[in-house]
């Protein structure tokens, strides 16, 4: 029995079911007597709903329910994690293309689809805004009803919030800068494209309701439904089977309230499985324009940053404004900056509601700010890596005054990436290299409970409310339990995704779970160990103070026993088990601009060697290096998967992904044919993912969260390599062949 599984890469828990087809995602679960739901939407973004005629739809055989806003409690309930602005169904007007105005439930998918097409909605298309410029026009139509924003001075604008961060006096120190680089960088609207489209089911459950969702945050959903339905939390049971990819797009409540109302009204289970096209209309990342001025002294010392970011949100806020604050708060980067001024706006528009997406508001300013580092390096004649290293915060130095200081040896990470990419070595003709740093604040608050049951035979059940959406949380928690309690990994079961059984967890986001839930599980295991220690003292008639329990072993004065050998005599004839509870709490800090300081930082250095096809503008990634400071890789194979996966997702928004809207606010490239994400053909020719491990994180065994780091600075690293290879500077993403080719043409023409 190996008790030292931390730092190994055992087979993933749940892996077997995933290779045999046995893993059940929400859409794979069959409920008896279930009705199939289909949404009714309009063919434009913003419209006044004049009337809805459901009579033809109701004539379709098998149709049991056509629900409109009129069938909901009045006023129609609204919900949202930050602002309760999203109605269960569109009220009076639709605000984005794809917003449901009604929904049909029928005995079959066929009948539901047929009936949904027969719901006649009379509507008048209204002027709408789809871009930052249009939304900020003083004459622009308002996205949000000012009545929802009482006492808000911005209520008569489309600016939901304007945030200000900073320190020092930028204007005063600007004069001491020898060089100021300035520009505007744009970041496209991209979507999560989890291969599992969002799926929801609801069923009356005694005097309450049961809901199944592909959601990342089952406890948020439970809370939201309890409030909307007027039920106690104990009567709302949320089943959250492992999502088939989340990436932030499944964090918060989407269509579960609608499905819940339908199930209660029909008195039957209802299921709604979105099409991929509908997921495009449900979730996306904020597109952003970032204007940056960075000031430097001639020796490369950073003097100030002045950043103004406009983030384009959709029609409802979801958690997007939080991504704006969190991303822009850390926008200065991992550097010592004597003065900084950050203004960031959350701007509403008549588009798909934006939400959390891996990186959470950070990749946008990082794209701009890191690019100014390259422009400054060129202007000052300093190597871009050297310029960054000169300003990079050393361990313990503040990067944001008053917040968590630098918590790693980041220069070590950067030098490792540089070495792996061959920084400074001769390049083949036509090739270039780029390097960039990315930093993201980890969770600012958190609360994770867990329970660990050590059963009579030494096997273990762990209850942890994290969602395992591919990151492998289940495996990591089992490794912690195996390490602490000595059970072999295949004797450990990890139960997740059922709010009636599993204790509360705030959420699965911000790469928090290894650190926060991991510490909670560790604490639960330690509580079990304490009881084992008392048991060993009793069984062996030894003073408890002389006994230590660690790493699955009971250390008595005269011998060492595996825990399981103490359990048998300790539990006695009736058997039983030992139960430990864990709690990991990171409380809010009053007065902190984000509500709390960073639990840790994710720091990544990405270095790229690229070649550009002068004839087509195609970028060939010859060598791609990502190095993340992970503290301690509890499971190196999963760390590598997260790191590479984040990098590949970053290559999506860097090279190919972007929504294209038409003049009526419809996504023209809706679906998998016209919206391209990276495939196996888009892999870099050589792809290296490495870590730095100094066991200096706050998580179990010195770990840090790391699932987003490698996405943060993909774009500036690739763009810098393109610049190095070709001389062209491109400030708009994605770097499609067309855009690169055009830039090359413009270069040749000048």
């Amino acid at each position: 029995m190996s008790t030292h599984v931390i730092g190994g890469s055992p087979a993933r828990l749940g892996g077997l079911d995933r290779v045999t087809g046995g893993q059940q995602y929400v859409a794979d679960i069959h409920l008896a007597d279930v009705l199939h739901a289909k949404l009714v939407t309009l063919d434009c973004a913003r419209a006044r709903i004049i009337s809805i005629d459901t009579s033809a739809a109701l004539q379709v055989p098998g149709v049991r329910l056509v629900m409109t806003a009129a069938d909901l409690p009045q006023p129609v309930p609204r919900f949202g994690p930050q602002f309760e602005d999203r109605p269960v169904l569109a009220v009076g007007e639709t605000k984005y293309h794809g917003e449901p105005v009604a929904a049909v439930a029928a005995d079959s998918k066929d009948a539901a689809e047929q009936a949904a097409a027969l719901v006649k909605v009379e509507y008048e298309e209204l002027p709408a805004v789809f871009t930052i410029a249009a939304a900020l026009d003083p004459a622009a139509p308002l996205v949000q009803d000012p009545a929802l924003r009482l006492d808000d001075p911005l209520a008569r604008t489309n600016v939901l919030r304007e945030h200000h961060f900073g320190w020092g006096d930028v204007d005063a120190v600007a004069a001491s800068a020898d060089l100021v680089v300035e520009g505007t960088w744009t970041f496209p609207m991209v979507t999560h494209f989890a291969i599992e489209p969002h799926a929801f089911m609801a069923a009356p459950d005694g005097d309450g309701i049961a809901v199944w969702s592909s959601i990342q945050h089952p406890n948020w959903l439970q809370k939201t439904l309890a409030k909307i339905l007027g039920l106690p939390l104990s009567k709302v049971r949320v089943f959250a089977p492992d999502p088939g990819g989340g990436f932030g797009g499944k964090q918060h409540v989407k269509l579960e309230p609608l499905v819940a109302f339908m199930a209660l009204r029909a008195s039957r289970p209802v299921r709604l499985v979105l099409t991929l096209e509908e997921t495009f209309q449900t979730v996306r990342r904020n597109s952003t324009e970032v204007h940056v001025r960075s000031g430097f002294r001639a020796d490369g010392t950073l003097v100030f940053r002045d950043i103004e970011s406009n983030y384009l949100l959709g029609a409802y806020a979801d958690i997007a404004d939080r991504t704006v604050t969190k991303g822009s708060y850390a926008a200065v980067g991992p550097y010592r900056a004597p003065a900084a001024r950050v203004v960031a706006r959350s701007i509403l528009s008549h588009t798909t509601p934006s939400t959390a997406f891996r990186g959470f508001g950070n990749p946008q300013p990082i794209w701009a700010v890191e690019s100014t580092m390259d422009e400054a390096a060129r202007a000052l004649g300093i190597d871009p890596l050297e310029l960054r290293l000169r300003n990079l915060a050393r361990r313990g130095e503040e990067i944001i005054p008053g917040d968590t200081p630098a918590d790693g040896d980041w220069a070590q990470t950067a030098r490792k990436a540089a070495e792996l990419v061959g920084w400074g070595t001769p390049l083949a003709a036509g090739r270039g290299r780029g390097i960039a740093f990315g930093i993201k604040s980890g969770p600012t608050t958190g609360l994770s409970y867990s329970t660990v049951r050590l059963l009579a035979d030494g096997s273990v059940i762990v209850y942890a409310g994290t969602s395992d959406m591919g990151q492998g949380a289940r495996t990591v928690f089992a490794q912690i339990a195996a390490q602490e309690l000595g059970a072999p990994l295949d004797w450990i079961t990890v139960v997740m995704g059922d709010t009636a059984v599993v204790p509360y967890d705030q959420q699965t986001s911000a790469s928090r779970s290894t650190v926060l839930m991991g510490n909670s599980v560790l604490a639960a295991c330690r509580a079990v160990q304490a009881k084992v220690r008392a048991m060993a003292a009793r069984v062996h008639r030894v003073d408890e103070a002389l006994i230590a329990v660690e790493a699955g072993l009971v250390r008595l004065p005269d011998r060492v026993l595996p825990i399981v050998d103490v359990l048998g005599p300790g539990l006695g004839r009736l058997g039983g088990e030992i139960i430990g509870n864990g709690e990991m709490r990171k409380d809010a800090e009053p007065g902190h601009p984000l509500g709390g300081s960073a639990a840790f930082y994710e720091f990544n250095c990405t270095a790229v060697e690229a070649e550009v096809d002068q004839g087509t503008g195609d970028i060939v990634l010859v060598r791609y290096v990502t190095v993340s400071d992970v503290g301690k890789a509890l499971n190196p194979a999963q760390v590598r998967s997260q790191d590479e996966g984040a990098a590949i997702q970053g290559l999506g928004h860097t090279l190919m992904e972007h929504y294209i809207y038409d003049e009526r606010g419809r996504i023209r490239n809706l679906g998998a044919i016209d919206y391209r994400i990276p495939t196996s053909m888009d892999l870099p020719l050589e792809f290296i993912s490495e870590t730095v491990e100094n066991a200096d994180g706050p998580g179990p065994y010195g770990s840090k969260g790391m699932s987003e780091g490698a996405l943060l600075c993909v774009a500036p690293a690739v763009a810098a390599a393109v610049r190095d290879a070709t001389g062209v500077v491109i400030r708009d993403l994605p770097l499609t062949p067309e855009r690169v080719w055009q830039a090359l043409q413009e270069r040749s023409n000048t």
């Binding site: 379709v60 291969i195 599992e196 990819g245 196996s680």
Partner: protein, 169 residues
């Protein structure tokens, strides 16, 4: 609008088992596998043949089951992810997916496995470039392409070892 949906009988062999089915003429093979046969290992995502989540093997060829009408599969021999393991023993490729850490969220994995199985049947010693091309129609948003490629290579090697072992005996 019609009250009755037109159906047609088909006979298919799915994972070695013969099935006589009465299928709606407009239903895809994917619909029938998931809804009529409860073989939910085959996944539904894009429904336009671009993502590969619904890949199955039909008469030896990997196909997107969302693009095939069930009636077109009449007489066909079909393998889904549920049919890859034999008597509870994983195929070499399934085992390699576990060993190389190719499985993350898992939603694309059935499709990747079927495409990989078809590729290895056609080309038992694929190069990395051939694997990338052979699996280019199977999207993995977790970004596990390197590990998936490693798994296909490992499965090819283990098939060689097994063949060598059989020759030794």
């Amino acid at each position: 609008m019609t009250d009755t949906i037109a159906t047609q009988p088909i006979e298919v062999t799915v994972n070695g088992r013969q099935r006589l089915l009465d299928v709606a003429v407009h239903h895809t093979l994917l619909d029938v596998l998931r809804d009529d046969l409860a073989l939910t290992g085959t996944k539904e995502c894009c429904l336009v043949g671009e993502c590969g989540a619904c890949t199955v093997i039909v008469d030896g060829r990997s196909v997107d089951s969302c693009l095939v009408l069930a009636v077109e599969a009449d007489g066909a021999e079909i393998t889904t992810v549920e049919g890859l393991a034999v008597d509870g023993t994983l195929s070499a490729l399934q085992q390699a997916f576990l060993d190389t850490g190719a499985v993350q969220c898992g939603f694309c994995i059935p499709g990747q496995l079927l495409s990989g199985t078809a590729l290895l049947a056609e080309s038992p010693h694929p190069t990395v470039a051939e694997i990338h091309e052979g699996l280019a129609g199977n999207l993995c948003r977790c970004g596990g392409y390197q590990q998936i490629t490693e798994a296909v290579l490992a499965a090819a090697e283990s098939a060689d070892r097994a063949a060598a072992g059989a020759a030794d005996r």
